[in-house]
Amino acid sequence: MLGQLIVSGLAVGFCYALLALAMVIIYKTSDVLNFAQGEMAMISSFMAFVFLESYQLSFPIALALTLLFAAALGALLEFVFLRPAKNPTVIGMIIITLGFEMILMGIAGWKWGPDQRNLPFPIPSFETYNFAGLVVSKINFWTIIVCLVLIVILFLFFQYSKLGTAMRATQQNRLVARLMGIRTKRIFSFTWALSSLIGAVSGMFIAALTVLDPPMMMDPLMKAFASAVLGGMTSLPGAAVGGTILGVVENLFGGYISLPFKSVVAFAVIVLMLCVRPSGLLGKHFVKKV
């Protein structure tokens, strides 16, 4: 029972972690909290559904097209809406991303209606693996593996690649980064594209684990926020760790204490964390200058 709950918690937790990572990447570079992250992932998952179901493409091609679409969507939103905003306030930025959220949700609702669908995923959700008595469904197993690999790739990318270094430089000081010859505007577009792409992977797994319908990302978005707060909004490893912890804790709470109140755990985590340690588990403490 305990092992089972932990494993399924890990699978969901890694999905949260990916979504939280996508959010933290944007938050770190441009100080924008992206409320549209969930809806961007949802639209991308629907595109995957269209490629797989309507055009009957094979899974790898459909996946590649979906990721391409997700990246283009992220870059487009940044280019069309965020770039023209002059001296935006924090509230203004939040309103802009909330506006995206509503636009994307409206488009999805208009195109696909309120029906619940199943994303045709190549990994069956009913077959299981058996690891010495621990029964793990195939979908959970592969979710954990893929998300873990993706998180490791992301860390390597940020740490060692030239583009990753440029992104970190932009995060630290935009002006100096520009003086050093980094095209910061292009970095912002790229950040949004990368973030949207990571979100799309998470969205596809969440669609495979649950169902595919327009409001499907509402709850995971909240969980991703909770994960990011838990790990520290400005720390990439923090977001990954926070997501995993949240997924497991939430599942244990659902299994042992109360299933209906499972989704309140995220709120409790946010409030507790913000009261005890506002900068998160792994975030650096931030002192406000007057």
Binding site: V90, I96, F267
Partner: protein, 363 residues
């Protein structure tokens, strides 16, 4: 009192403290206020007879309720500089507690409404406690979580009717059941009182403390403003307004269900404030009127002449007919984004610019 400057244009000069705190700044405003009240009195009869602009008395009630919410949220967002994405939670608390007080305990509405609003204000106070340590995006997340937690909790409490929701009891006035048009006068009276209270609030010590916190919380604290007290108070006042509106909403809707108070509702409340103009009571009212009207009208977009037929054709060709009401959400989102990009002060900003233009007309 208005003085004339050398060029002959009007400038607002305040010569004493009492002039600053008076409700009607000039005779003109007093006259227009009286005219506005008279219009509010006869408006439901006019609407019920002519259906001007496709309005109904129900829509009128909804608009006034949203005005109350927008004013309450503006006290928090526009005047204290906090942000909330959880006002649907307070709205739900107000609605459910008021219905419970009237339905289960048999209290009359004029007692149940303030009681429900006070419970909502209590919830606002509790949410205000973690909000003391948060700002900007963190606060947005925490309040959004609060809104979602409230609906989840209500959904799983049998006491509140669970997933099925609650039926609002029929109200009687002198032995006859109240209709929309009777409710209109109740709602309108509450709305006018709360609007005047909000305008007056910012002439008192409390209101000025809110504004000081918005402009700079560090400076406000240095000047002796108790941040903890005033920030939680701001949340409580804002929640009180929203709770009153929620209680009224339950009765005009007749039936409330926790699913109805979702995150999109909180976002639309915030949108009303931002579109109307952050930090302006009149702006909130304008934003609430515009967005509620648009929302209700766009829900049935296929009935609008001209665009409707075109959209139906487009939906049949490329989209789905079942989801055509989602056009409302798209328009809503677009307005939100465009107003931030091009007119950050919202409708109030446009009004200020027009006023300035005409005051100094040829120049």
């Amino acid at each position: 009192m208005r003085g004339k400057n050398a060029e002959g244009g009007c400038v607002d000069i305040k010569r004493s403290y009492y002039e600053d705190i008076e409700l009607f700044k000039s005779k003109t405003i007093l006259v227009w206020s009286v005219i506005l009240l008279a219009v509010l009195l006869i408006l439901p009869w006019f609407i019920a007879k002519t259906h001007f602009l496709g309005m109904s008395v129900y829509l009128l009630n909804l608009i006034i309720i949203h005005c109350i919410v927008a004013i309450g949220l503006n006290i928090l967002v526009g005047y204290t500089g906090q942000i909330s994405l959880g006002h649907a939670g307070f709205f739900a608390i107000g609605a459910f507690t008021t219905v419970m007080f009237v339905g289960q305990m048999g209290l009359p509405l004029f007692i149940a409404l303030p009681l429900g609003a006070l419970i909502s204000a209590g919830a606002g106070f509790i949410l205000g406690l973690p909000a003391l340590r948060l700002e900007g995006p963190y606060l947005a997340i925490a309040t959004m979580g609060f809104g979602m937690a409230v609906t989840t909790i209500i959904k799983h409490m049998e006491f509140f009717g669970g997933r099925m929701g609650l039926q609002a009891p029929k109200l009687y006035l002198f032995g006859t059941a109240m209709k929309d048009i009777h409710f209109y006068y109740v709602i309108c009276a509450v709305g006018v009182i709360l609007t005047i209270a909000a305008v007056k609030l910012f002439k008192t010590k409390v209101g000025r403390a809110f504004i000081a916190i918005r402009d700079s919380d560090v400076a406000a604290e240095t000047m002796g403003v108790n941040l903890n007290y005033y920030k939680t108070l701001s949340f409580a006042v804002s929640a009180f307004y929203t709770g009153v509106a929620g209680g009224l909403y339950a009765f005009i809707l007749g039936f409330i269900n926790p699913e109805g108070f979702h995150i999109i509702m909180s976002i639309t409340f915030l949108a009303m404030v931002v579109i109307g103009g952050v930090g302006s009571i009149m702006g909130s009212i304008a934003g609430a009127i515009l967005m509620t009207y648009l929302d209700v009208k766009l829900q049935a977009i296929q009935d609008i002449p001209g665009i409707g037929a075109l959209l139906v054709h487009f939906s049949e060709q490329y989209m789905s007919m079942g989801g055509i009401s989602n056009v409302a959400i798209i328009v809503y989102g677009l307005i939100m984004v465009l107003i931030i990009l091009f007119e950050p002060l919202g409708i109030f900003g446009i009004w200020i610019r027009t006023k300035k233009y005409w005051k100094t007309y040829p120049f």
